[in-house]
């Protein structure tokens, strides 16, 4: 029991230490409005997934921050059910990347391969779903 509590506290502290620099990165990005600019870059590509350009914003918010702001941004758009499914699948594959990648790195995996797998899963599934749905 005591060992469990001890390793629980240790692990909580390890995970927290891991995310502090990531939160610095994210908060600074927000302060310089980088997310709006980033979604501006993605806008023209959303058409490949059958999505309107404005859907770049929830995609960027979900990937850089987490799913909750992305959900808000999706609801602010008027997407049809096919489009909601597509962006849902894309975001489920790839979201909260800075935080989750920091944790997987701490767990011992390299960042780039995991990032590549997740982004590819998101992009390819979005592309295919747009064709088949």
């Amino acid at each position: 029991m005591r060992n469990g509590i001890k390793s629980g506290i240790q692990l909580t502290w390890d995970l927290t230490k891991t995310v502090i620099p990531v939160y610095f990165f994210i908060v600074i990005l927000e302060h310089i409005n980088a997310l709006d600019r980033l979604s501006g870059i993605f806008e023209p590509f959303m058409i490949y997934f059958g999505l309107p350009g404005e859907a770049a914003l929830p995609f960027v918010l979900g990937n850089v921050l987490n799913l909750y702001p992305a959900l808000g941004a999706i609801e602010a758009l008027s997407l049809n059910s096919k489009q909601v499914t597509i962006i849902a699948v894309m975001l489920l594959f790839s979201h909260s990347l800075p935080i989750e990648l920091a944790i997987t790195k701490k767990a011992g995996a390299k960042v780039l391969p995991i990032l590549f797998i997740r982004l590819m899963a998101a992009l390819i599934s979005g592309f295919i779903l747009n064709l088949v749905l």
């Binding site: 390793s7 629980g8 506290i9 302060h31 799913l67 959900l71 059910s81 849902a88 944790i103 899963a121």
Partner: protein
């Protein structure tokens, strides 16, 4: 002023992360301690046994996998860190667990969020599982287990088997 704002935001975010993690991780580690002391690993791993067998992973991957599936990748990742620290998990298991969980985790919370706003539940849930399965299987086949790696492929020789 801006710097203070940034530090304040980071502090806030970190604190809420810490609380959120502690609430789940500390009880989880207590449960894990019991599982270890009562030697329940084998009993628990049977839940994921078919998956583990296909991927040729050890039973020690089952707890990080289950945790990640139910609670999310932060917690699953935490358990991987813990298992790696105790030397229970091989590099191969570690990567396959992380690959699988990266694609398919937090199956209740994440999926319900999107189903609530109108996404197709079957595509969201099954699609994600199938892709996670396929990608992990691909890497599991690519990354042979240690025993198989010793077998040198020698064309035209049919009695070249390693007995294990």
């Amino acid at each position: 002023m801006d710097i203070l704002n940034i530090i304040y935001d980071v502090f806030n975010e970190t604190l809420s992360f810490l609380i959120q993690i502690a609430i789940i991780v500390i009880p989880l580690m207590i449960v894990l301690q019991f599982i270890k002391e009562l030697r329940l690993y084998d009993k628990l791993s049977f839940i994921l046994y078919p998956l583990l067998r296909i991927f040729k992973m050890s039973k020690y991957s089952s707890l990080p996998l289950l945790t990640g599936l139910f609670f999310g990748i932060a917690y699953g990742g935490g358990l991987i860190i813990q298992s790696a620290r105790e030397g229970l998990i091989t590099k191969r298991d570690l990567y396959l667990t992380i690959i699988f969980l990266s694609i398919f985790h937090s199956i209740f919370e994440d999926n319900i969020l999107f189903i609530a706003i109108g996404a197709d539940p079957y595509i969201v849930f099954l699609g994600r599982f199938i892709l996670a399965f396929a990608v992990t299987l691909f890497f599991a086949k690519l990354w042979k287990t240690e025993v198989k790696r010793k077998r040198r492929p020698e064309p035209e020789s049919d009695n070249y088997w390693v007995v294990d």
